[in-house]
Amino acid sequence: MAVKKFVVGNFDDEAVLFPAVKKVRRAGYKIHDVFTPFPIHGLDHAMGLRDTSLHTAGFIYGITGTATAVGFITWALTVDWQINFGGKPFFSLPAWIPVTFELTVLFAAVGMVLTFCYLCQLAPFVKKDHFNPRSTDDTFVMALECTDKTSEAEAMSFLETVGAKEVKIEYKETEWWIGRYDKDVKLFHKEN
């Protein structure tokens, strides 16, 4: 749990936001995060985020599923409880492929969903600050983290020059917590 100080710029157009992200990075500010109402192609590259490793995790889960299915069926049908199906050999791989395939998909899918939730810190009752509730509607929010070397006034005026409609200094919780938004966070319309 750490409350930090942020300079928050609110943009109303992704065509302005995109070059702004590049300029802010070039100027050397530390972007905490950018919140947008919809996914923007290429924004992750502009922000300098590394590629996700979710697909590697998915591959590992899939292989685990394959190994589980083949391993278990092999053990069950050749060692533990041999059954003669129409004179076929006990180890008859073709018959097991559908189950193996399904288990591969199941492991990969469930594993990736859980990993995705973990990486994004999503879970029931878990709350995170996203600076401006309107970032789920029509506002693009860029939060710059203030370090002890950051001059807030300079950062605010810089955000305005790159096209932010509204710039604020806010103290926000950076981690997740379990609670209720309506008690912990003042909603936008109540601020006005």
């Binding site: 192609h41 290429g42 590629d51 697909h55 076929k88 073709p94 018959a95 492929i97 559908p98």
Partner: protein, 414 residues
Amino acid sequence: MSIRENFEVPKRYNTIAIALMAVGILAIAGLWVTSGSSSDPHKSARFWASLLQNSVFFLLVVNASMFFICATTLAWGGWQMAFRRVPEAISAVVPVIGVIAGAILLSIAFGGNHTIYHWTDTEHVAHDPILTHKKGFLNTTFFAVATVLTIVLWSLLGWKMRQLSRSLDTKPLETIAERKKYVWNNTVWAAMFIIVFSLTVMSSIPWLWLMSIDAHWYSTMYSWYTFASTFVSGMALIALFVVFLKNNGYLEYTNNEHLHDIGKFMFAFSVFWTYLWFSQFMLIWYANIPEETVYFQPRAHGVYKGIFWLMFIINFIAPLLILMTRDAKRNYGTITFMAIMIIFGHWLDFYQMVFPSVMKDSTGATHVPNILYDMGVALGFVGLIMFVTGRALTKAPLLAKNHPFVKESLIHHT
């Protein structure tokens, strides 16, 4: 550097294409001398089987390009516009190989040698209750009409789609109404091609041309499986030409994003092919009925075992593991390597569809022929595809810059 709109065929390219065609003709001549001219019908069938396998395979592969164009057109896709002229040029080979394949198919059906299509032997059919029941479908008249009609329709509808695309180069569309009309027009013609395609490649034609070699045996998966085989090879062929043109400084607007999507098609349809291949195999393996397993006996367990499992490794395991990552699909080297592997793998797939049923001697034993001859014939067809596609590429600018969807392709991002 200015944009190089029009492809100019490099001299070496044509030399290689003509050399490959010469290899093909030499291979055909060699086959004719060693087996085709023989009076033993079992021996001369080997010659015709080679021509049948190669011409049908490459005809279906180049026709898959037109399927790709029509499917993306019907889906109102825009991403393929940057390189759409490449599949268009490849599909221009359809009439050429169509004539060759048609001539070969009709020669086999009417040539009097019943080893490949033994349902053409009317005397034999009269004593064979299974073939008598299939007479409505498996008879030479229907075969000839269906073959000619199919090849003519593919060629004509493909020609119409190319015409529609090229008509824009001289006459840009000024108003929104004109563009809407153009897109609609394209959609209607693409839909007609897809209907013809689904009634031929996806259902009846592989039964008629390939499955009827084993006239007693049948599989309802067969056509889909053949379609998947040729479509993934068709995507590999498009990828090869795109990489070739990029390496020669053409197709400025086609970038890694487009290559990535072609790679996804190669990957996804390799898996799709495996799904169909396995679905066909497993049901027959599980039911274990002799009249069905007779198809897989020489292939999976007999002398064609090596080709059968090699093909499975090339067509499934290699694409699955090599093309899985994003970087692999964006790498010219990997894509080129895998495209060649996939085309070769599916050529082997067709090889084991045709030959095990044809290469039977009078005692009923199955043989593997010298595959080098067939590879030579395949090289001849590759040379033909190179030559005709190269010529077709020069006929129109490489970017259909007046198409309403072209911007979508230029800013494409995966």
